[in-house]
Amino acid sequence: GAGVSQSPRYKVAKRGQDVALRCDPISGHVSLFWYQQALGQGPEFLTYFQNEAQLDKSGLPSDRFFAERPEGSVSTLKIQRTQQEDSAVYLCASSLVLRTRDSSGANVLTFGAGSRLTVL
């Protein structure tokens, strides 16, 4: 697609419910990232995929958080037994892996509009 698409845009969950947030990256983008952005703060890294492989999940705050990208395109972030502190905007971003001549490997991420989760 033309951009990164996320759904739902808004989700209200009762504490204890499970939620699933979906990300459709830009077609052909190898890398996919999930970030969590609390109100008034910058995005915090959650996890990173290269194709279907989850190469880094160091940012996932607890074992209630799980992400997958089974076919190397669409990704789902699942949060089990939601808590109030999970309330945030969840941003997905994708990128081509750039290989520059000087191997800077700089990665320009294109973000989706995010999914705002509110846990009551």
């Binding site: 990232f33 910058g42 995005p43 290269q50 800077s104 700089a106 990665n107 320009v108």
Partner: protein, 111 residues
């Protein structure tokens, strides 16, 4: 642990003013630094800086990196109300795969 600090936290100016936003960082294996503008939800890319002292410019916005001081600045001249947003800086580290974001500077431009 990687650390990114942006200042000021927030800024209110009037149209036509010039602003300078600051970003300082401590990251392992620094590769580059990116600036993003976030108006509603999705941060949008502004600049990528890899070399010290080379100014990147786009219209009224410009940015420069100082690797010796581990910092970057983003300048906006002749500000407009449409510049109101949160400006995020993000160093790119290690394998270049992950961006570590600062807390952002919230800029409000009043007419």
């Amino acid at each position: 642990e990687d650390k990114v600090v942006q200042s000021p936290l927030s800024l209110v100016v009037h149209e036509g003013d010039t602003v300078t936003l600051n970003c300082s960082y401590e990251v392992t294996n620094f590769r580059s630094l990116l600036w993003y503008k976030q108006e509603k939800k999705a941060p949008t890319f502004l600049f990528m800086l890899t070399s010290s002292g080379i100014e990147k410019k786009s219209g009224r916005l410009s940015s420069i990196l100082d690797k010796k001081e581990l910092s970057s600045i983003l300048n906006i001249t002749a500000t407009q109300t449409g510049d109101s947003a949160i400006y995020l800086c993000a160093p790119n580290n290690n394998a270049g795969n992950m961006l570590t974001f600062g807390g952002g500077t919230r800029l409000m431009v009043k007419p």
